[in-house]
Amino acid sequence: MQAIKAENLSKSFRVKRKEKGMRGSIRAILHPQTEEIKAVDGVSFTVEEGEILAFIGPNGAGKSTTIKMLTGILYPDGGKVEVLGIDPVKKRKQLAYHIGTVFGQKEQLWTHLTPYDNFQFFSAIYDIPDREARKRILELADCFELGAFINTPVRNLSLGQRIRCEIVASLIHKPRVLFLDEPTIGLDPVVKETIRSLIRQMNEEMHTTIFLTSHDVGDIEKLCKRVVIVNAGKIVLDEPMEHLRNADLAGIPLENIIMEIYKSEEGRAGL
């Protein structure tokens, strides 16, 4: 079954412009100027259930915008989306019970509370009865090795511990699809590796579909079976990881291939 289906998805933004200097400031008040940017421009792809997909691209390529459309935060201007057969635009709340989200740069946790309190809060959000929630929290805490700090306020945790808690919080309700937006940003190599193996483990044991954005080649290489690269709102590459690995064997490091694709307007240059 297909977990995610996007067909010809588009979204544009209007951005304000200001010229420099005092004169520019005054002019911006009198005649505000805007220009339209196509953040996502006719994107189509599907993700199979149980797949781990890397969705990558340079900054401003439209990755986050796409995730937002898949989770129902933003409505597309054009095209169609289905996640687990549910239209996020029409049934956002219903979909929310089945998906989880982790935004590496935005915190969803209450920082002054302990992870345990946080997990209880998220359990309440997903209507999980107390007893069941307790069991689930212990299970996840065990799996993610949170035992040592589950009763320490989140603000006193290290970044790596925090992100582990973020991921656990998004798993409380056993989502079938997990969206991870740059989950390893700012982490040291050891912690990155832990997070990756946990993600892989989750995917294998619970058959969770994972939609991952990242700038880290390691994340992509070690986790994903398929890579989609977007640039300027368009998909420029959609290949199984193996194909890229083959190129890697031919002597070009994966990092260079990706860099080439980022730089070239048309994409597909290196392959």
Binding site: G60, L74, K93, F121, A124
Partner: protein
């Protein structure tokens, strides 16, 4: 449709409401816990806000020194005005503080976190923060009503008007804040209107005449949140009571409807640059 199906639907609705309530109450509780992390700040904020409110007494002592009554009010009624305003403004800011910052959230795209949760977006946002100094306002309001409320049916009616007042303050802020879904510069105007509402609420309505009186009862809803309740506490009138109740209900409904209308625009709009 069979009765059975009706019953399960009612059960489901009941369960949904119960779950929502559980989340919102947990939210409020966690907010309080957050603020209590630093106990000294917590207590000083509350006490200083109470003192802050009490300083205004000086103004009224001076004014009643010049005239025996101002706009038909003596010091006792002025205190009722203050009590009513401080208590409902306070309660609204304790429970729903974030609604007063809705424009900032909209403009900077911070509603996203609430949109991925399977619960009411509006309640999620509103209950996501609290304002400690509002506890000072609330307590000051209770104190003042406790001292000066013993006239007419004051003490019986106060709890009811505390609720309508809180609804009106919150709903008005929600309505003003929701306008920022359409107009970027709405944050300031909304804030101004709220400030205006509080300023008017602490002066006797008797000094306002003509158009301004009309504005105070219908545009900036001070009349319904504070003036009418105070009149009713002094002298009961059934018609006036129903006007207040009806108005609170109407404003509440309209503001929620406008918010959800705006939320649709938030999700489909293309004007927010910070949201990429």
């Amino acid at each position: 449709m069979s009765m059975e199906a009706d019953r399960t639907r009612a059960d489901l609705m009941f369960a949904a409401v119960k779950n929502q309530l559980r989340v919102s109450l947990l939210s409020v509780k966690y907010n309080m816990m957050r603020e209590m992390v630093n106990k000294v700040t917590f207590v000083t904020n509350i006490i200083f806000m109470m003192l802050n409110n009490a300083t205004i007494l000086v103004q009224w002592i001076i004014l009643f020194h010049l005239r025996e009554e101002v706009g038909g009010y003596t010091l006792k009624e002025i205190m009722l005005l203050w009590g009513m305003t401080a208590a409902s403004y306070g309660l609204s800011h304790i429970l729903f503080a974030r609604v007063f910052f809705l424009p900032e959230l909209v403009i900077s795209g911070k509603l996203d976190a609430y949109l991925v949760q399977p619960k009411s977006v509006l309640l999620g946002i509103m209950t996501s923060a609290t304002d400690i100094s509002a506890i000072g306002d609330f307590l000051y309001g209770l104190l003042v009503i406790g001292i000066f409320g013993h006239q007419g049916r004051g003490l019986y009616l106060f709890p009811l008007f505390l609720i309508t007042g809180t609804v009106i303050f919150t709903a008005f802020a929600l309505l003003m804040g929701s306008l920022s879904f359409w107009f970027v510069r709405m944050d300031m105007l909304g804030r101004q209107m709220m400030l205006g509402m509080v300023s008017f609420a602490t002066y006797p309505d008797g000094i306002f005449k003509g158009v301004s009186r009309f504005l105070l009862y219908f545009i900036i809803p001070v009349g319904m949140a504070v003036y009418h309740p105070v009149h009713l506490m002094i002298r009961f009138d059934k018609g006036m009571l129903f006007t207040v109740l009806g108005y609170a209900l109407l404003l509440g409904t309209v503001s929620v409807a406008v918010f959800y209308r705006g939320l649709r625009r938030y999700a489909s709009s293309s004007l927010m640059e910070a949201r990429m």
